[in-house]
């Protein structure tokens, strides 16, 4: 889901919750003389929980297969970009990056082709987050020292993409960034 639809979903759910709480509160302001309280509460509780369980079950079975670990797992990438993060810069290269003398290259990526980012860190934990031209976060992985995370992605639209650090890494975290171009 895109962030906007997520926000909408949240606002609808939060609004519904607020209405329910308000109605319950108001009902206690004028309790009816006869039949105090909720009738058959155990039964209602059971159905409420069951429905919630089913909704959550459906939601997880739909969303789990969309997890980023399974993205394009059975294809061979056209391009590999090595990413090495350090306080407070990203090094991007088509070749493996030597931690002793890291080099940075201008990266051009083909549109609609599978690209694999191999992301690691030379010092602390960093985030590797890809933002499109509209400044929308479209995907991310963490850069963890000692490990390589492989993020596979297909860029549909050509343009300039930004990379921001999304794991707090110290005093210049907010200016740690890079970019690449998709043609």
């Amino acid at each position: 889901m895109e962030q906007r639809s997520i926000l909408l979903l949240f606002l609808v759910l939060a609004g519904a919750a607020t209405i329910v709480f308000t109605l319950v509160y108001l009902s206690s302001r004028k309790p009816e003389r006869s039949g105090q309280g909720m009738s058959n509460p155990l039964n209602k509780r059971f159905w409420f929980s069951l429905i919630l369980f089913v909704i959550l079950g459906i939601f997880s079975s739909v969303t789990i297969p969309k997890s980023p670990y399974y993205l394009f797992a059975d294809e061979t990438p056209t391009k590999v970009i090595h990413v090495s993060a350090m306080q407070f810069a990203f090094f991007l290269s088509e070749n493996a990056i030597d931690p002793k003398s890291p080099s940075n290259e201008t990266i051009m990526l083909p549109a609609n082709k599978l690209v694999e980012f191999r992301v690691t860190s030379m010092d602390v934990n960093h985030g590797f987050a890809i933002y499109n031209e509209a400044n929308r976060l479209i995907g991310q992985t963490q850069a963890m020292p000692g490990y390589v995370n492989r993020l596979r992605f297909k860029f549909k639209e050509p343009g300039k993409y930004s990379i921001l650090c999304l794991e707090y890494c110290g005093m210049a975290h907010q200016v740690m960034r890079s970019s690449f171009v998709v043609k």
């Binding site: 493996a96 990056i97 931690p99 191999r118 000692g146 492989r150």
Partner: protein, 250 residues
């Protein structure tokens, strides 16, 4: 007391660390990954030649680069590889190509090499030479250099994983642990694991060790540390309950 246990574990850890074997730098192994291997013409016998793709299209390939006059790493390297593959219970999901990068090597030299390891009739193994070794070397990022003072090539012991589309999926330099070879074989079969560890790191306290043979993670020592709080809490709960309820009278 709890801290003592942890410190003891750490002390043992230091000991293990000192003995830990260091692995060659992973840097060169990352070069040319997912590049296409050069489609070189291979000669496997005097009048039997084929193009490289004829081999990898049939089955994913492990490519070992050697030369027959080598009195350095080539022999132990091949021996380890042969032993390892024999131990792998007839896994025929891949084949092995042993290719000479020495232009002086002939088809017969390579045949002899195969014989030495008792592999001349093993269909999983192919021994070959090529006349386009330079283009092939470039496509996989392999750069041996001739040292005329000792009449030998200065070179890495290199294994290259090639999937059945001809893409390089993984490279291993040096004589490596079976675990790394497992990863190599998994990679040529296009089994994607979204992560791997970098060599030369302290793996002592890692939570999991990925086993490419089964595709499963086996718990590491680190996992104990994650489970420890819960275990200690249960022990505390039970022992406190026991002691407050079985207080000696008087």
């Amino acid at each position: 007391m709890f801290k003592d246990i942890v410190l003891a574990v750490i002390a043992v850890g230091f000991g293990l660390l000192l003995n830990a074997q260091s692995v060659s730098s992973g840097l060169k192994e990352e070069a040319n990954i997912y590049g296409k291997v050069f489609d070189a013409p291979l000669r496997v016998a005097e009048n039997d030649s084929l193009l490289f793709h004829g081999l990898y299209n049939r089955k994913p390939l492990i490519l070992a680069l050697v030369f027959t006059r080598c009195y350095g790493v080539c022999n132990p390297f091949l021996l380890r590889l042969a032993e390892y593959i024999q131990l792998r219970d007839k896994d025929d999901s891949f084949s092995v190509l042993v290719l000479s990068f020495d232009p002086k090597d002939s088809v017969d030299d390579m045949k002899l090499l195969g014989k030495r390891y008792g592999l001349e009739n093993n269909t999983q193994w192919t021994f070959a030479v090529t006349d386009s070794i330079e283009s092939l070397n470039r496509s996989i990022g392999f750069y041996p250099s001739w040292d005329s003072s000792i009449e030998q090539f200065d070179h890495d012991a290199l294994l290259v994983g090639i999937n059945n589309e001809g893409f390089i999926t993984k490279k291993l330099i040096g004589i490596r642990q079976p675990h790394d070879l497992d990863l190599l074989i998994a990679s040529v079969n296009n089994i994607f694991s979204p992560t791997y560890r970098l060599p030369n790191r302290n793996a002592l306290f890692s939570c999991f060790n990925y086993d490419p043979k089964t595709g499963k993670n086996t718990p590491g020592l680190g996992l104990l540390f994650i489970a420890l709080p819960a275990i200690v809490t249960v022990i505390l709960l039970l022992s406190i309950s026991y002691f407050v309820r079985h207080k000696p009278l008087g």
